[in-house]
C-alpha cells in the first residue's frame, strides 16, 4: 500500500465513520431535512467503495473517472444543491433547485458527449461546473443569511455550519479540480501536494459534519 492508497483508505474510513455516527444520531434529527444526511453519507460511502473496487479491478463498460463524473458526483452535488436551496425558513426554493439541477445536467451531458475524450485544463467539466454552482449558491445563502434574523443564532445553526464546511471544501479544492490537468502536466510537485491537501480536506469535511451532527443535535 503506497502513500496515496493510505490517504484514499483514510478518506473512505472518514466517510464510513461519518455515516456510522450520523446513523447513530439520526433520531435527534428526524423532524428536519438533515435526517437525510446519514443516507447521503451511506450512499457516498458505498459509491466510494465501488470506486475503489473499480480502480483495483477495472471493467470494460465503465472507467473509474466516468463512474465518478456521471454517478458519484451527480449524487453528491444533488444533495448539496438541495441543502443550499433551502431558504431561511427551511423551505426549499424549488425554482432555484430545478434551475441549478438543469444547469448541472446540461454540463454532464456536454461532458459526456463532447468533452470526456478530450483533454482540457480541468479534470472533469461537469465537476468544475458543479463546484462553481455550489460556490454561487453559497454566496446567495450567505447574502440572504446576513440580513435574516437567523444570524443571531448562527452558533447553533447546523445548516450554517454545514454549508460553511461545504464551501471551505469546494472553494478550497476548486483550483485543484479546475486546473487538474495543467498541474499534472506542468507542475507535478504542486499537483501531488494539492492532491494530499484536497483529500485531507475531504476527510476533515466529512468528520466535521458528523461531529456537528452530534453537537448540534436537537434536544
Amino acid at each position: 500500500m503506497d502513500q496515496f492508497d493510505f490517504f484514499r483508505l483514510g478518506n473512505l474510513g472518514a466517510i464510513g465513520l461519518s455515516a456510522f455516527i450520523c446513523v447513530i444520531f439520526l433520531p435527534a434529527w428526524k423532524r428536519t431535512f438533515w435526517k437525510w444526511l446519514p443516507l447521503y453519507f451511506l450512499v457516498v460511502f458505498v459509491a466510494e467503495l465501488t470506486g475503489r473496487y473499480l480502480r483495483l479491478h477495472p471493467v470494460s463498460w465503465i472507467s473509474n473517472p466516468d463512474y465518478y463524473s456521471f454517478f458519484v458526483h451527480p449524487v453528491s452535488f444533488s444533495f448539496i444543491f438541495l441543502g443550499l436551496s433551502k431558504n431561511e425558513n427551511g423551505k426549499t426554493n424549488s425554482r432555484l433547485l430545478i434551475f441549478v439541477l438543469i444547469l448541472y445536467a446540461i454540463a454532464c451531458i456536454i461532458d459526456y458527449l463532447f468533452l470526456k475524450s478530450k483533454r482540457f485544463w480541468f479534470g472533469s467539466f461537469s465537476y468544475t461546473i458543479g463546484d462553481l454552482l455550489v460556490i454561487m449558491m453559497a454566496v446567495r445563502f450567505y447574502s440572504r443569511y446576513l440580513f435574516s434574523e437567523r444570524i443571531i443564532h448562527y452558533k447553533r445553526d447546523f445548516m450554517f455550519w454545514c454549508i460553511t464546511i461545504w464551501v471551505i471544501y469546494y472553494a478550497g479544492t476548486f483550483p485543484y479540480f479546475a486546473l487538474r490537468n495543467v498541474l499534472f502536466d506542468n507542475h507535478r510537485a504542486i499537483f501531488y501536494t494539492y492532491w494530499y491537501i484536497q483529500i485531507s480536506m475531504s476527510m476533515l469535511m466529512y468528520l466535521s459534519i458528523s461531529f456537528l451532527y452530534i453537537w448540534q443535535r436537537r434536544k
Partner: protein
C-alpha cells in the same frame, strides 16, 4: 476576510437589535403585569367600597335612625345630650364612610377629573387644620382612570409624609399641562431631609414613589435638603 468582517459586524448589529427588542418586550410585559395588578387592586377596593356602602353604611344609618327615634320619643331626658352626641357621631361616621367608599370606587376615578380629585385631596388636608394647602390646577387634563389613581396615590403619600414627618405649615400643589404632557409639582416648607442618607423607611418611600410612577410610564424626581423642605415633580402623559 472581508466577508468574515461583514458577517461579524452584521451579527453584532442584529444581536443588538434583538436584545433591544427583547428588553422592550420585557418592559411591555412588566407594564401589562403592573396594570393587571393595578386593575385587581382597583377591583378589590371597589368591592370593599361597595361593602362599606351597602353593609356597614346601612347598619350605621339604622343606628342613626334608632338614636334619632330615642331623642324624638324623649323617654330618657337625663341622657338626651348624650343621645344627640351619639347621633352626631354616627352621622359623621356615615359621611366619612361615604367619602371612603367613594375614594375606593374606580368609577369615581373614571367620572371625576384629575384636577377635581387633586382639589378634593387638598381640601381634605386643609380641613384637617394641620397645614395650609395652596393649589393651582389645570382643569382640562384628560387622562384615564389608572393614571388618575396613581397620581392621586402619589399625592396622598406625599401629603401623608409631609404631615407625619416634615412638620410643614404650607404645601403648594401645581398641576400643569403642555399639549399632551402633564406635570404635577408638590412642595412643602417642612424640615426636609438628605435623600442620600435616607433611612430605610424614607428609602422605601422613595422606591414606592418610583414604583408607582413606573406603572404609568411617568418620570418622577424628588428633591429635599435639611431645612429647605421637600419637593416632588411628576411628569406623565395620557
Amino acid at each position: 476576510m472581508a466577508g468574515l468582517f461583514i458577517f461579524l459586524a452584521q451579527y453584532r448589529k442584529k444581536r443588538h437589535e434583538h436584545m433591544n427588542e427583547l428588553s422592550r418586550k420585557e418592559e411591555d410585559h412588566l407594564r401589562e403585569l403592573h396594570f393587571a395588578r393595578l386593575e385587581m387592586q382597583q377591583q378589590t377596593m371597589q368591592d370593599i367600597g361597595q361593602e362599606i356602602h351597602d353593609s356597614v353604611g346601612q347598619k350605621l344609618t339604622l343606628a342613626a335612625l334608632y338614636t334619632q327615634q330615642l331623642d324624638y320619643e324623649g323617654n330618657y331626658p337625663e341622657i338626651k345630650d348624650r343621645i344627640v352626641r351619639i347621633s352626631d357621631i354616627v352621622n359623621e361616621s356615615i359621611q366619612e364612610l361615604r367619602n371612603l367608599s367613594k375614594g375606593l370606587n374606580s368609577g369615581y376615578f373614571e367620572q371625576t377629573t384629575l384636577a377635581s380629585l387633586i382639589q378634593h385631596e387638598c381640601n381634605r388636608v386643609q380641613a384637617s387644620g394641620k397645614c395650609t394647602v395652596s393649589h393651582q390646577l389645570e382643569n382640562t387634563i384628560d387622562v384615564n382612570a389608572p393614571v388618575k389613581m396613581v397620581v392621586v396615590r402619589i399625592l396622598q403619600e406625599f401629603f401623608q409624609n409631609s404631615l407625619k414627618h416634615a412638620d410643614c405649615t404650607i404645601i403648594d400643589v401645581k398641576l400643569m399641562a403642555e399639549q399632551r404632557h402633564y406635570s404635577l409639582f408638590i412642595k412643602d416648607n417642612g424640615k426636609g431631609f438628605d435623600p442620600s442618607s435616607a433611612s430605610d423607611n424614607s428609602g422605601a418611600g422613595l422606591i414606592n414613589f418610583q414604583r408607582r410612577a413606573k406603572l404609568i410610564g411617568a418620570t418622577i424626581a424628588l428633591f429635599s435638603a435639611p431645612g429647605n423642605g421637600t419637593s416632588l415633580t411628576l411628569h406623565f402623559s395620557s
